[in-house]
């Protein structure tokens, strides 16, 4: 296990900022704390009944790139993470007489229907469905399986509405919302005192949603969006290297006052084109360049090196964020089933939001699900392609519950009402 000097990245005390909703609980006087002791907890004897748990995964493999793409999404993106999670669950299960199996369904063409796939799995007795699918599909599936008691784990849709107005009681969100991602980036900008943002917004609905999240995060952390422009120059990041430079795409950054350009390009069409091409020399972040995310091949702290090695042996490639998210979904089921010694979703689903459920997931802190919107609380890494730059929550961002709740929508602001 490594642990490079994160502590050295923290802001000086004088630079600390508190977010609007946070309470400061700094007890300054006592020099020595006290140990809290819990009542003796007799560990029940290991279960004698073997328990077999099937976990479903519905995903849509990325189409192969039309020409050479150095970092094309692999066909088994997400699936390989599920396989590692199942293997991890089974290693533990050897000692608890629990076995786990994966029932994966690839939606290979546009016509394949996620709802039909989900219903098939449920009919086969699968009670845990991991979805690596867009928000509309998550909603359609979760509504279709509502009366079956199935637990849906969203590993692919970062849409805030799934944690807000469109939240569902049977859905748990393993990946961070866009709000959490952009809050993580905003905290880093605050630490660096880069307060002026030039926001560049792509043409898709996802890009617009990301831009909304950036605006909200800027408000929350008192950053200023000093300029905002739509990207109208097409997928230049996918143009060939010998394509002539598109002069107008460079000129449109002229005459602006900003510290960092934030690109909102969830499809990866043009965001990488912006770095090193702005008229003024400014760093770029957002969906490309300096990125808030769940996982990166450069992460090695908190035991992540072991996960990276294990994954590479299993899949013969590097672990990607979607692989990690699906792995965390499988491990969520494994951790809860191990603790409760049953795979009955009527027991497991309420347990996931209890205070004693925690998921260790290579982030240095225990992760847990927020009761108000079923979002997994998590540290978010801020990375550039070759290095870990920082980790949110940044030091100095405090919260009465846990610093992890400085990221994303907090209880007082939530618009989620489970029915």
């Amino acid at each position: 296990m490594h642990d490079p000097a994160f502590e050295t990245l923290v802001p000086r005390p004088g630079r600390r900022r508190l977010i609007r909703t946070a309470l400061v609980l700094l007890a300054l006087a006592p020099a020595v704390g006290h140990a809290q002791q819990q009542a003796p907890q007799p560990a029940p004897p290991p279960p004698t009944q073997p328990l077999d748990t099937h976990i479903g995964l519905i995903y849509r493999p990325q189409p192969a790139p039309s020409s050479y793409d150095a970092e094309a999404a692999p066909e088994d993106e997400g699936l390989a993470g599920a396989r590692m999670g199942i293997a991890d669950n089974n290693t533990t299960g050897r000692f608890t007489k629990q076995t786990y199996a994966l029932d994966d369904v690839a939606l290979t063409d546009d016509k394949s229907d996620p709802v039909a796939a989900a219903k098939n799995l449920v009919a086969k007795g699968v009670r845990y469905l991991i979805l690596a699918l867009p928000a509309d599909a998550v909603l359609a599936v979760s509504d279709a399986v509502k009366d079956s008691g199935v637990v849906v784990l969203n590993a692919g849709a970062s849409d805030d509405r799934l944690r807000g107005a469109d939240c569902r009681a049977n859905v748990f969100h393993v990946l961070p919302s866009r709000a959490m991602l952009t809050d993580a980036l905003a905290q880093y900008l605050t630490v660096m005192r880069w307060r002026k943002i030039f926001l560049i917004v792509g043409p898709t609905d996802a890009d617009k949603a990301y831009a909304d999240a950036v605006r909200n995060s800027a408000r929350k952390f008192a950053l200023k969006i000093t300029a905002e422009k739509p990207w109208t120059f097409g997928p230049l990041a996918k143009a060939r290297g010998d394509t002539p430079t598109r002069a107008e795409a460079m000129v449109f950054t002229r005459g602006l006052d900003y510290d960092l350009a934030i690109v909102a390009d969830e499809e990866g069409d043009w965001g990488d084109y912006v770095s090193y091409r702005t008229v003024d020399p400014r760093p770029v972040g957002g969906t490309q360049a300096l990125t808030p995310t769940t996982w990166s091949p450069v992460l090695e702290t908190w035991g992540a090196a072991q996960a990276q090695n294990r994954f590479r042996r299993l899949a013969s490639r590097l672990m990607r964020p979607l692989d990690y998210q699906v792995w965390a979904a499988v491990r969520t089921v494994g951790e809860a089933v191990t603790a409760k010694k049953t795979n009955d979703p009527a027991v497991i689903a309420p347990y996931l939001v209890e205070p004693d459920f925690t998921l260790p997931a290579y982030k240095g802190v225990p992760l847990s699900y927020r009761p108000w919107d079923h979002q997994l609380r998590q540290a978010i890494i801020v990375v550039q392609p070759k290095a870990l730059v920082s980790v949110a929550p940044e030091q100095g961002f405090l919260h009465q519950r846990t610093p992890l709740d400085t990221l994303g929508v907090d209880l007082p602001e939530t618009t989620c009402k489970f029915k």
């Binding site: 000097a5 700094l26 704390g33 560990a43 290991p46 533990t92 925690t358 260790p360």
Partner: protein, 327 residues
């Protein structure tokens, strides 16, 4: 608290410590530097680094032979254990440890060596004289902590992702029982009477005390430090005095070592040490405790009786493990 501040204070404290304790016996402490690929050698009497020895890649677990003549170092990224001659500081041979050895413990008789293979979900048992693998025991995901009962009959391994303490019979090399503990168990330490096993949970933030005869958790110790986030309290290394009176627990990025009454489980105090403190080792006379502080690249020395940090010693890059010679 930074190592530097401590070092400033320690000159004074050290004087007081000598006055109280008289001259200390001279032992040798060996520190593995995970990113330095080296071992720092410290004279415990002068508390000065007397040498830096090159070893294999990513050295973590470290232990000394019973006679003090050989030093064993897990070279995790080289999938081997380096054996150094402590008189020359040279690697004289390497043991077939299996992949990614992280921590190990030497049998009370001096042989065999029990090794946790972190990447491979197994414990490897090696005859160190014949360099022969005696057994490979499948355990949970990411095995790390290794504890041996004082009578040598029970080996305990903790698996960081499976969150269990696996009890292994050292005669049959079979897993005889598994006890679930909190998230990411890093270290296992038996009390000297063999009745209790303490297991730290780094992510869970707790120490479980397990009744060895019954294989069940009888106490969970939790920690609260004013002005430190609960998430930063990550227990790793544990050492308990031979008389069973005091336990010391390294709390990782909380940058403190907790001192606990090992009978009542009451917390006595938190000692500020360097940054990201992980592993601990007593001198054989149990007068001093050495801690490895990964982020501040130093070692803190604690006076066990006075419960005070008396010195901070800069070592190599990312100090991980510590072992102290018996003589």
């Amino acid at each position: 608290m930074s190592g530097r501040v401590e070092a400033g204070l320690s000159v004074f404290a050290l004087g007081a410590w000598f006055a109280l304790s008289g001259p200390a016996a001279a032992y040798t402490a060996y520190i593995t530097n995970e990113k330095g690929n080296s071992v720092s050698v410290i004279d415990t009497a002068t508390m000065a680094v007397t040498g830096t020895w090159k070893v294999g890649r990513r050295p973590r677990g470290v232990t000394v032979s019973k006679d003090g003549k050989e030093l064993f170092v897990c070279a995790s990224d080289d999938d081997r254990i380096d054996v150094l001659d402590t008189s020359s500081g040279k690697v004289v041979r390497s043991l077939r440890s299996g992949p990614d050895p992280e921590q190990f413990i030497l049998d009370a008789s001096g042989n065999p060596l029990y090794v946790a293979n972190e990447d491979d979900s197994q414990v490897t048992i090696i005859d160190i004289e014949k360099n022969k693998v005696l057994a490979e025991v499948p355990v949970g995901v990411e095995p790390e902590g290794m504890g041996l009962s004082p009578d040598g009959k029970i080996l305990v391994n903790t698996s960081e992702t499976t969150n269990m303490a696996h009890f292994i019979d050292t005669k049959t090399f079979q897993v005889i029982d598994n006890v679930l503990v909190d998230a990411r168990p890093r270290f296992a330490e038996f009390t000297a009477d063999g009745k209790f096993l303490w297991v730290s949970a780094e992510v869970g933030g707790t120490v479980s005390v397990i009744d060895v005869a019954q294989h069940r958790v009888i106490k969970k110790i939790t920690f609260k430090i004013p002005s430190v986030n609960d998430e930063a309290i990550q227990p790793v290394g544990i050492r308990i005095t031979k008389d069973g009176s005091k336990a010391f627990v390294a709390l990782g990025p909380a940058n403190r070592v907790a001192v606990i009454d090992a009978k009542s489980y009451e917390l006595e105090k938190y000692l500020p040490v360097g940054q990201r403190v992980w592993q601990l080792a007593f001198t054989p006379d149990q007068k001093m405790l050495f801690t490895t502080n990964g982020t501040s690249n130093d070692v803190s020395v604690i006076d066990v009786t006075a419960e005070k940090v008396v010195k901070s010693i800069p070592v190599g890059l990312l100090p991980w493990g510590v072992a102290i010679s018996p003589n």
